[in-house]
Subunit: 116 residues, 3 copies
Amino acid sequence: MKTKVVFHVNRDDEETLLMALNNMENLLKNIPADEAAVYLVANGVAVRLFRRGSAAQYASRVESLSGDGVQFSVCNNSLNSLGIKHEELLDSCKVVPAGIVEIIRLQAEGCAYVKP
Amino acid sequence: MKTKVVFHVNRDDEETLLMALNNMENLLKNIPADEAAVYLVANGVAVRLFRRGSAAQYASRVESLSGDGVQFSVCNNSLNSLGIKHEELLDSCKVVPAGIVEIIRLQAEGCAYVKP
Amino acid sequence: MKTKVVFHVNRDDEETLLMALNNMENLLKNIPADEAAVYLVANGVAVRLFRRGSAAQYASRVESLSGDGVQFSVCNNSLNSLGIKHEELLDSCKVVPAGIVEIIRLQAEGCAYVKP
């Protein structure tokens, strides 16, 4: 059975995001990439963490995980309410209309939920 | 398939509750009310947030979500240990014997879990 | 149906752990022990909380819950990166190779997820 998981990040808190990145890296050390479906959904003020200007310390880790198949989804409702433009985000981020809808949908499709 | 989700709030932290309310409002903009089953369970010190005296800033949002079908459940174990009476709570709250039992039961019945 | 749940603790924060212990004790007051499968997985800096030297205030509660069948799993990746030895941990802790893998596996096997 495929290992499926969604990580949920909703605070503007780098430490929490680093824990999520650690978790995902550890996970992918244990599971072959083609047997894993790994998602991170950022909503609320956490979307700020994915602006290129904020992400210098961990941008390369995000890009590397993205290359390994992790999908980083950023909530468009939250971007709008914070006045952040799509083009400010790291290239590996995908904008989704509503993060909360995505988190629920992924669990309904069999993903485990992890809140770092 | 119905969209089913339980939000879990366990801190006496208004900001977290406001994120939960944002999430629920965004969700119900995206999903017709009759295709959604949305629950919030408050336990631990979070039950304080649902006293009428504490909730002035967001009481109307709670009432409005309740009118849209969201069920707000407050843990009686936590109320007892904090000495809070049922009649202090917002009208739209339902008291449940043990919040933790409710959270597990709802997931077993197919609800996604979200911790704001 | 058996009541199955995994509690996830990842902060070095005693208050959060105490909430988890309260939740588990309340749960086991409501459910006969042989109808429950209750797990706690600690990863990240939370593994520090399970060192005998740190746990004086709640060690007896952990041991008592363990006696009631709760399984306390501590992430070996996190122990290694923090330089904590297995023999420093409370006797009732079981070390698992990767906490994140355990959390996902337990949910895939039907456990509810709770983040205290």
